[in-house]
């Protein structure tokens, strides 16, 4: 049997949603022989992190020990992938822990896969591309492309009064047409708009498809006529990614 590059799946501060996304990926069982696991505490007995070629890091960096580990991993592994919103942007961890940092703030990363948790589709595509030597690219369109609802119809002022959709919402209409804030337009696609399909407006866990998050938000919110309490709005938009950083 031909062995491929050895993998390490590392969890820093955060929940274990992101490694679970790798573990539960439908492609893993087909690829498992092509991707020998050097370190994946959820699956195997731990060996040594530093003997891997590809490191998949999830969670935010909160402790000094984590920062040091990350730096050593960067030196020993040829490829470092930040998986999940906490690793890519700080995510929910940075909301709770003031000093939390995202992985790219500490070390250079070769690939980011945001999402809370990262969408099955992106994880699967990434694993296949990595094993077969193909190229993996994040979608650069926004959630609207995959949204099952009808496109936005309103012209400015697009009034926004709710953070949760009102009950009388039409099943097919855009949330923004129903005065409900949805971050779908300013959020990277690839998730299949699963939340929206379940009737929950997008909270933007995949981050912006282009530009910085703060500039995206300022551009987007300036089009809307927002009639919400400022603190509630700020809480909503900074759920996954910090705003106001340059």
């Amino acid at each position: 049997m031909e062995y491929g590059e050895r993998w390490a799946v590392i969890q820093l501060s955060g929940c274990s949603g992101c490694p679970s996304a790798v573990f539960s990926s439908p492609v893993l069982q087909d690829l498992v022989y092509s991707m020998p696991v050097a370190y994946f505490p959820m699956v195997t007995d731990s060996q040594r992190v530093l003997s891997a070629d590809i490191a998949v890091v999830s969670g935010a960096v909160c402790k000094r020990a984590e920062e040091e580990l990350l730096k050593r991993v960067r030196e020993s592994c040829s490829k470092l992938v930040a998986l999940g919103t906490c690793a890519v942007y700080g995510g929910v961890v940075s909301r709770e822990v003031e000093s939390a940092k995202a992985v790219p703030e500490v070390v250079e990363v070769d690939q980011v896969i945001p999402g809370c948790p990262p969408p099955e589709k992106l994880v699967g595509e990434f694993l296949i591309a990595e094993v077969s030597g193909g190229e993996f690219r994040l979608p650069s369109y926004n959630v609207c492309k995959e949204c099952p609802r009808a496109p936005l119809r309103r012209k400015p002022p697009i009034r926004v009064r709710y953070l949760e959709p009102p009950e009388e919402l039409q099943a097919k209409a855009c949330f923004l047409d129903h005065e409900t804030l949805c971050l779908g337009p300013v959020t990277r696609g690839g998730c299949g708009a699963v939340c929206i399909e379940l009737g929950v407006p997008c909270h933007g866990c995949l981050g912006p498809p282009a530009k910085s998050y703060t500039s995206q938000l300022a551009n987007f919110l300036s089009i809307l006529d927002i009639q919400l309490e400022k603190s509630k709005l700020m809480q909503f938009v900074s759920r996954y990614i910090r705003v106001g950083v340059l």
């Binding site: 650069s140 369109y141 926004n142 959630v143 609207c144 492309k145 496109p151 936005l152 119809r153 309103r154 012209k155 400015p156 697009i158 779908g184 337009p185 300013v186 959020t187 696609g189 912006p208 498809p209 282009a210 530009k211 910085s212 703060t214 500039s215 995206q216 938000l217 300022a218 551009n219 987007f220 919110l221 300036s222 089009i223 400022k230 700020m234 705003v243 106001g244 340059l246």
Partner: protein
Amino acid sequence: MSFFRVLAHSAREKIVRMLAEEGPLTYKEIMEKTGIAETGKLNYHLERLSGFIEKREGVYVLTDSGWKLYELIKYRDEILAGRPPARERRRRPVLSRIGVVVCMCNGEVSKVISPSRLEEEAAKLEGVVSTMVFQNLCSPVSIERLAGWVRRLFINRLVIAACSPKLHAGVYQQIKAKVKVPVEVVNIVEHCAFVHQPGDKATEKAVAMLKAAVKSTGVEAYMPTKVVAVKKAVAVIGGGVSGILVSLQLAKLGFKVYLIERAPTIGGLLARWSRVGKGDCASCLVSELASSLVLHENVEIMTNTEVVGISGEVGSYEIRLLRKPRYVNIEKCTGCGTCALVCPRERPSEFEFGMTSRKVIQIPYSTAYPYAPFISPEDIELCLSCRKCEETCPANAIDLTMKEKEDKISVGAVVLATGGELYSGPLLEKYGYTLHEDIITSAEFERMLSLDGPTRGEIIKPSSGEKPLSIGILQCMTSKGCSRYCCSVAAKYLRVIREKLPDAIVHIIFDENNIPRDSVIPTEIWDSVIIGRGVRIRTENGRIIVEIGSKRVEVDLLILNLGLDPPSKLRELHYMLEFAVDERGFLDPRSLPYGFFACGAVTGPKSYEELVYESLATASEVALILSRDKLEVEEAKVVVDTELCGGCGLCEAVCPFNAVSRGDTGVYVDPFQCKGCGACLPACPTGALKFHQPSGKILQMVKALSTYDGKPKILAFCCSACGYPAADNAGLRRLKYNPNTFVLEVTCTGRIDSEFILEALKRGFDGVMIFGCRLGSCKYIDGIAKAKSRVEKLRDLLGEAMGGRVRLVEISAIEGERFAREVDSFYRELAGCESGVRGKVGGNPA
């Protein structure tokens, strides 16, 4: 098996072709069609084709690889036929050979900026192959020398550090035509040398500006062009005297002219006037012009017609028209007027400004063209119940069932000659128009003077029919600013009154409360001028009393002299076309898109002589376009990258010109509707829009400018319509401001992405300023409102301290002094903040 090995035998190729083109086939059918009689042979070929075909339910079909094979066959055929299929050509990065030119403006620049330092720094930059210093770039000799230098050194990008590209557009146009390479301009004159002292850091600033321009040449602007076949026809919108004059001229030049008039007759306001300025009879003049126009074979006159839509590009516009019914067939009508005689219903005559009455079916005046009666659509319900005229008409020309219909014309250029409108606002009420029958407007007085008017040219008091002994002319009936019109009209009246009533006393009255600030009153030409604050008009025993302070004048006839206002329908055209209006609401002809021209009172009141000259000039401008067979035009200003587009529709929501629409094939930008403001770019979350001023270029410039060493430094984003010219204005007036300020031009403030502001703050700019048009006079309707809202949201997200570093200023193009003042005051605030003297930076003063 390899593709080519399969194709080695013609039988196998034939099988693949058949299965692709004819669909699934049975074994027997394949045998018949290929003509292979032996099963062994056929089996062999089918065996060799395994993987490309498969047998399913008794028939052979192509697999995915089989389809690829078929594609390959087709490609090969195309290549052999000499039609190589379109392939993505690999783009190699263009090798930049940048030339840098510095102009000294005859020593004006070198007083402040060291040219040798500029040259030396420019030469160090990547991609710069040569530099050159001119004493005076605008001379033809210099331009020749420049073009030769560009050719000799194979320079493919040119950076010119000289004067403002706005103020000296002509020079840059000449340079661009000569050098034929992309040109980037650095304004080191108005934005640097003129506004800083020699001891300042002006040279450092100029170096940073030059660096930014050189760096930004690396980002290619997206500007596709295409060639348009020019339609040899022109539409003239508005059939007033200026429309007639320009139509006549263009028809003489040999172009097809469509003259489009909303009213049922052509001639406009002048047809109702008594005389033109110098004393000719106005209605004779108009009727003479109209008749020579009618006789011209190239002219098609469309009365009762409105423009409802314009699309296309210069050289090939399509204009959608709505032709309203006249209810009289002009071809059949002989103009006998019998219909008006039998018509039982009367209305006040609009033509005579209500001084007499008219029939519902009417020919408004004796020299009207077309000389045929009409019924206005609002009266038609009434007429359908009467039908007397229809029965009486000897020519059977009346058809009360006529319907409005749509029409379309194709033209190469368009002339807007919609004229102006007489003032009809609240001032009339204020000065007693309804108080007394002998208080009339200048329009009514014009009709009174006309020989075909209600009094046959006699000046009388409408109340009694007597001749007035004293006449007052109250000036300045205008809604905004000096109309530059009513003074010359008053002078004309004075002349006519002296001629007709030599004994009458004429008082020209100005109310100081009402005189516009910008007006010039030529008092020396009149004998009795009364100027005072607070003119009151009242009546006493049937006499009109004019009171000004303690002065008191009795007059028999008071004329309220109306100014000219912009036409009320200009707003509708404004939504179809992009143009700016001046402070009084008249069209600013400079802002019209290429291929559109304005002529006559639509750009402001004019004398008849001015109209004649202007129509000649306009006609020659139009001829410049129409005389060419082909034109190269911009294909689109904004183009959508469908790969990146998610179809969220935010661009459609923000577009001020409704140029964006979403269909089944994705987002589409109408190249005609789009005016290129770029307001959609910040709204696009995925960066799917391509624009001639790409975000990458601006970010690159911000980065390069941030290398300037100086604290605190300010980046000022200036809109091209008002902000940038305001900075130019400060330069022209040599107003000094702090050199740590950089001006970066953007198409519109609505185009300023929050990303630019954040990038500037991140890269070490201490403050970001935005200079845009005043709300209401924004060239792109609401760009400044968008910028304002964006800055507000950015302040919310960044918090107090950081948000205070962004300031937005509404400014006019001529407010150079204010530009300098605002920059300096922001600088002082930031400096105070820096040293901790003042604490935090305040918010927007507005």
